[in-house]
C-alpha cells in the first residue's frame, strides 16, 4: 500500500463517525492498543515536551525502511500517534521526508497538529522528518 492509500484508508474509516465523541472514542481505543514504549526507551533524548502532554519517539531503520515507536502520557495524543505510525512506518526515509499528512486535516484533527496545541504532536512529526533526513545524509 502506498502512503496515499494508507491515509485514504484512515479517512474512510473515520467517515462513518459523524459525532465528535464517537470519533474520539475510536482514537482513545486506538491509543490504548498502541504498545507502550519500554521504560528504558523513555530517555531524555527521546522526549518531546509539549506544554500539555509529552511524547516519546524511538526510531529504527530496518532494511532501508523507517520503524517508529512512540508513546505519550495522554491517551488521545497516543491515539493520534498510532495513526501517524500506521501511515509512516515501513516507508523509506525519502518517503517520510516528503510525506504530506493530509489525512489529519481530513478527519478533523488538524487542531492537534497546530503550533498552538502544544501537545508535542507537531514537534513529533518534525522529529520524524528530521530523523529521516539524518538517515539520508549518512
Amino acid at each position: 500500500m502506498t502512503i496515499q492509500e494508507k491515509q485514504q484508508e484512515i479517512i474512510d474509516e473515520f467517515a462513518i463517525y459523524d459525532d465528535w465523541m464517537d470519533k474520539y472514542e475510536y482514537i482513545i481505543e486506538l491509543g490504548k492498543s498502541v504498545p507502550t514504549l519500554a521504560p528504558e526507551l523513555k530517555t531524555q533524548d527521546r522526549i518531546i515536551e509539549g506544554c500539555q502532554s509529552n511524547v516519546w519517539l524511538a526510531t529504527e531503520i530496518k532494511d532501508g525502511k523507517m520503524q517508529f515507536s512512540a508513546d505519550s502520557d495522554a491517551i488521545i495524543t497516543k491515539g493520534i500517534i498510532g495513526l501517524l505510525i500506521q501511515v509512516l512506518n515501513n516507508e523509506s526515509p525519502e518517503t517520510v521526508l516528503k510525506s504530506d499528512l493530509f489525512f489529519i486535516a481530513q478527519i478533523g484533527l488538524a487542531e492537534h497538529l497546530s503550533p498552538t496545541r502544544a501537545n508535542g504532536l507537531l514537534s513529533m512529526v518534525k522529529r520524524m522528518k528530521t530523523e529521516a533526513l539524518q538517515s539520508l545524509a549518512q
Binding site: M21, E25, Q52, S53, D73, A74, I75, I76
Partner: protein
C-alpha cells in the same frame, strides 16, 4: 451606588459570546480564570471609539483629540474610584498584570541592594515569580517563598518567621488562579509593613470577584488585567500609592512621559504619565473604563455570593467522584475548582469536555512550582464568573462522567 437586584439571566443576556453553540452544543464557558467574556456595552464602547472618537491623546489641539483625551482620563477616574484610590495619579495604564508587575520590578526594584529580600508565595503565577527572579539576578537580592499547606493555604507562621528588616517587598497573589484560595492579604500587608516592607498584590483573579478597596487593604501596589474583568485584552492597571510612585524612576522612555527633552538630559512628566511612555492603548483604556462601569451596575456582593455558591456546588459534587482529587481545598476560596483524576491525563479530559461544548483549562496554569509541590503534571480547572449557573455545572458534571467513562473503559 445604585444597582438593580442581581439576576444571572439579566447579566447573561448582555454577553453575546455566551449565546453561541460550539460543535453543535450550547457553549458552557468555565475558563474565566484565563479570560472573561465581554458584555455588549464594552463592545459598543470599543466600536464607538474607533468609529467616531479615534485620535491620539494628550497633545492634539483639535476636537477629536480632546474628545479622546477626556474619554481616556474619564476611564482612569472611573477605575480610580472603583478601587478606592486617592486620585488619578495613582492609576497607571499598563498592558496587563504582567506588565504592571514588571514595571514595579524594574522601577521600584532600582532601590534594592544585594542581600535585600523579596517574599512571594508557593502559589504564585509565573508572572509574579519570574520578574522577581530577574530582579534578583540584576541586584543580588534574595527571593524567598512562603510555603503553603496541602489544602492550599499560606503557612502564616512561616511567613512571620521569614519577615525581617531585610524584607523589602512582599509580592503576593490575592486569589490563586490555580487553587482559588483567597489569601488573608490585609493581615499579611499589616505584618509586612511592620518591618518596613512594601506590598504588591497580584489582583488578576480578585478584581472580578471581590470588591476592592486599596485604601482599606493598605497595599502599596495593586495590579490587574482588563481582559479578566470583562474588558479588552492588552490593557491593565498598576495602582500605586502616590508618594511611592513619585519616588520611583520611569520604567520606559518615550513620548508622553517627558516634561522637557534635550540631548543633555530630559525631565519627566508628573504622575501618572511618567509611567505611560508612548501612545497608550487608548481604546483598551476606554473599554476597561466601560467594563468597570458595567461592574458598578451590578450588586457585586450578591455576585460574589453567587460565585461562592457555584464553587461549593461544583466542588461538592466532584468530591463524591471516585478517583477524583480536588486540588486546593482552602477554607476561604472562590470561583475555581481544580482537580485531577487518577490514571487520566488532564489534556484528555479537557479535549473530551471541549467536544461536548465545555471550555475548561487544563495544564499547569502557569504555576509550575505549584504543580511540583503537588507532584502532578497539571489539573483540569473549571473557573466561574457571575454569569455562570448551576444548570451549567450539572451539564458539565454529566459531560465529565461521560468523558471518564470513555477514558476508563
Amino acid at each position: 451606588m445604585e444597582h438593580s437586584p442581581f439576576s444571572v439571566s439579566d447579566i447573561r443576556a448582555q454577553f453575546p459570546a455566551l449565546r453561541q453553540k460550539v460543535y453543535g452544543k450550547q457553549l458552557i464557558y468555565f475558563d474565566n480564570g484565563a479570560t472573561s467574556q465581554k458584555p455588549q456595552v464594552v463592545l459598543d464602547t470599543l466600536a464607538q471609539y474607533y468609529a467616531l472618537e479615534n485620535a491620539n491623546i494628550h497633545r492634539g489641539v483639535h476636537y477629536l483629540s480632546q474628545q479622546a483625551t477626556s474619554a481616556y482620563e474619564a476611564a482612569r477616574r472611573t477605575i480610580q474610584k472603583y478601587i478606592g484610590a486617592n486620585g488619578p495619579e495613582e492609576i497607571i495604564f499598563t498592558k496587563g498584570t504582567t506588565d504592571s508587575i514588571n514595571l514595579v520590578a524594574f522601577s521600584f526594584g532600582e532601590r534594592l541592594k544585594p542581600g535585600d529580600e523579596i517574599l512571594i508565595s508557593a502559589m504564585e503565577h509565573h508572572s509574579n515569580i519570574v520578574p522577581w527572579q530577574l530582579l534578583c539576578e540584576r541586584k543580588g537580592c534574595v527571593l524567598r517563598v512562603i510555603p503553603i499547606s496541602k489544602k492550599g493555604e499560606l503557612d502564616l507562621a512561616a511567613f512571620e518567621q521569614m519577615l525581617s528588616e531585610r524584607t523589602k517587598l512582599l509580592a503576593l497573589t490575592h486569589i490563586s488562579n490555580t487553587l482559588g484560595t483567597i489569601n488573608p492579604v490585609k493581615e499579611l500587608i499589616a505584618k509586612a509593613h511592620q518591618v518596613g516592607a512594601k506590598v504588591l498584590l497580584d489582583g488578576a483573579q480578585s478584581i472580578q470577584h471581590l470588591s476592592i478597596d486599596v485604601k482599606d487593604l493598605n497595599c502599596d501596589f495593586y495590579t490587574f488585567s482588563g481582559h479578566k474583568v470583562f474588558g479588552p485584552t492588552g490593557i491593565g492597571i498598576l495602582y500605586g500609592k502616590e508618594a511611592l510612585l513619585d519616588t520611583m524612576p520611569p520604567y520606559q522612555g518615550g513620548g508622553d512621559m517627558i516634561s522637557k527633552v534635550t540631548f543633555e538630559r530630559s525631565t519627566y512628566n508628573t504622575l501618572p504619565l511618567k509611567f505611560e511612555a508612548g501612545t497608550p492603548h487608548i481604546a483598551g483604556a476606554i473599554g476597561l473604563g466601560s467594563a468597570i462601569s458595567f461592574l458598578q451596575s451590578i450588586d457585586m456582593q450578591a455576585a460574589a455570593a453567587h460565585e461562592l455558591e457555584l464553587t461549593k456546588y461544583a466542588q461538592g459534587i466532584l468530591d463524591t467522584f471516585e478517583g477524583l482529587n480536588i486540588i486546593g481545598e482552602a477554607k476561604n476560596k472562590t470561583s475555581v475548582v481544580s482537580f485531577t483524576i487518577d490514571q487520566m491525563h488532564p489534556f484528555d479530559i479537557g479535549t473530551l469536555l471541549d467536544k461536548q461544548g465545555i471550555a475548561v483549562r487544563t495544564g499547569h496554569h502557569c504555576t509550575q512550582p505549584l504543580m511540583d509541590f503537588y507532584q502532578i503534571p497539571g489539573t483540569v480547572r473549571a473557573s466561574f464568573a457571575f454569569y455562570n449557573t448551576k444548570e451549567e455545572i450539572d451539564t458539565f458534571v454529566a459531560a465529565l462522567e461521560r468523558s471518564m467513562q470513555i477514558l476508563g473503559a
